[in-house]
Symmetry: C2
Subunit: 364 residues, 2 copies
């Protein structure tokens, strides 16, 4: 192998593909990146068996070839080189890197040892705007479960039906629900791992088109010069339609920023306490937020618009703070039934997103 390539272009591609690499991999070869030079392109692949990322960049290929380099070491070297043309050679297990008056030699591994990412047949194509994809990942991926005992809950449901994409995630305490239009002909039902969506979210950085392809076991995201291939989670998802309430007895409208700052303060006390809960007392267009712990007490009144009878209800403040980070609206609506039933939080002016949160039992 013998190639010449611009430092910054190479570095960006290395950083993208290395997002697939897991520190916990039991296979040493998978802590490496596969560099494959052919047809005027350099293809860089990272893989942890669940997630693979392949980035293709143009390069001056003097001699075709491929090699596996240690990802973090190779990236740290390229990162420290001047912003100029880099010449990379591979011969007899040694990778030579030349740039100006600098020469690095390091050990490379044969490409044959690398475990390639699966090939995905591009059958049915789904298209979505990359900015919209970022938003819907942000609004659902935070409420997945971290409990490996129920694998399906560590991912986000992607349900495509009649040109609509519905995303759902839940962890037993709260649920996120998002519905958007998608350019598609065929229906689909898949559960995508949270880690995959997290890395995809980091890679999406412009306002362009993202192509999605599903097989039974895998999903492929095609984005500019990057391919992200992930295993799907197997199993039956929760029947979410049955658990999201649609009728409510009361409704509160509150200014998002006021509410956020208050919950943030109330959270301070629960942080120091074993029981992470705060209390809402709502009546006469006034929300009284009470937080109590061994270390002290907080009380705060906020003006709200409230339609319903007097209500006292408890919540875990961190679950409320989480959703306030992903709703981009001046005012939010919270709908309640009673202090034992789930509440719904949503933006005042946008019905596409709903967040369901279970109340915490109040200790009087």
């Amino acid at each position: 192998m013998n190639i010449k390539i611009n430092k910054q272009i190479l570095l960006d591609a290395l950083n993208t593909s290395s997002k697939a690499i897991s520190n916990k991999s039991s296979l040493p070869i998978l802590s490496g990146l596969l560099l494959d030079a052919k047809d005027n392109n350099l293809i860089i692949t990272g893989n942890d068996l669940n997630l693979g990322i392949e980035t293709t960049i143009e390069a001056n290929i003097i001699e075709e070839g491929s090699v596996v380099v240690d990802a973090s070491f190779f990236i740290s070297i390229i990162n420290k080189l001047p912003n100029d043309i880099i010449n990379i050679l591979y011969n007899d297990n040694i990778v030579n890197i030349f740039c100006n008056d600098i020469e690095f030699n390091l050990v490379g591994k044969a490409a044959e040892e690398y475990i390639e990412i699966p090939f995905i047949e591009k059958n049915n194509i789904y298209k979505i705007n990359s900015k919209l994809m970022k938003t819907i990942i942000k609004q659902t991926n935070f409420s997945i479960s971290t409990d490996e005992a129920r694998p399906v809950l560590t991912g986000v449901l992607f349900k495509i039906n009649n040109g609509e994409l519905t995303l759902v995630s839940l962890d037993g305490y709260r649920l996120s629900y998002k519905k958007v239009k998608i350019d598609s002909l065929l229906d689909n039902l898949s559960i995508i791992p949270g880690k995959t969506l997290n890395e995809l979210n980091k890679i999406l950085n412009d306002d362009s088109e993202l192509e999605i392809f599903f097989t039974d076991k895998h999903v492929l995201f095609n984005y500019n010069n990057v391919k992200i291939i992930s295993r799907l989670l197997e199993g039956e998802f929760i029947n979410y339609d049955q658990i999201i309430p649609t009728n409510f007895k009361s409704k509160m409208i509150v200014k998002t920023s006021d509410f956020k700052y208050s919950i943030d303060r109330a959270y301070l006390l629960s942080l120091k306490s074993r029981k992470a809960s705060i209390k809402f007392e709502i009546s006469n267009n006034n929300l009284l937020i009470i937080s109590n712990s061994e270390n002290g007490k907080m009380e705060e009144n906020i003006k709200v618009n409230y339609d319903g009878s007097e209500l006292k209800i408890g919540f875990n403040p961190s679950y409320i703070l989480d959703v306030l980070k992903v709703i981009d609206s001046e005012n939010i609506i919270i709908e309640f039934n009673n202090n034992m039933s789930p509440a719904i939080i949503k933006a005042f002016d946008d019905d596409s997103y709903k967040y369901m949160i279970l109340p915490v039992r109040l200790v009087e």
Copy 2:
């Protein structure tokens, strides 16, 4: 106690005084800040027995009094309050904090339990510009020793003699030496703990005057509305004059930025190796930097201005990187005798600072 005070002014003062608080304190009361309201002032004190910081701010004192509050909890509450006037009361072990429609109640401790910082007699005054003080701390405090077995080396020598202040620090591998003018009448010789200088450096943030007072056991830094009182380190300092060479056989002048980037790259390989050393081969106005490890090799040539015979010498690259961060000069001078003797690094255009570094034995 009953006071009213602006949030931001209070927060800044709390952050300053809390720099004295150690997480490792064995006395629970010292994880608190003493708030003392009297004569239209609020005095906030933090103390870890070695270092005490006292910040005085104007406040509307409705009723004088004092209390000890848990530092990190109290600061986190004040930090989250709106930028407005805060009312703080203390009665019957309870601290009440009011701000707009918000009320916090938390437990306070009686001021009588607090261990006050020692009173320092302001006898001989030394004056130095605060910006200059920051520079000289930066240039010496990084090369103190972390070895508690020789306490004097965990501080910086402050020697005042004939209107000159000399600072020296060393750790057995390298030594920093700085000399500046100081406004003083009397001589003094003290060793100031590195931690004290580190916290002082964070507090100094403008271009004004810093007053310094010494007693046998303590030093007091008086800076705007802040008093920093520290114990001095006891013991005999190393006779540094005898170990800093003054005559050299060869001299190299190199562009600071070129040199820094090269050492940074060479350091990458030594990071992965047990022996942290790089080799210089200097001849004919060329510096060849070689770094070698089990993982690979780096070679790089830099143009230099060299006056002397051919030299091969080894160094620990991190000790060179450290000094390059504190020299603010386009070019640096390195003076050598041979590959067993210490070298001196200094700015091309400034004789006030010298850095002595021991070479590493070369393994051929």
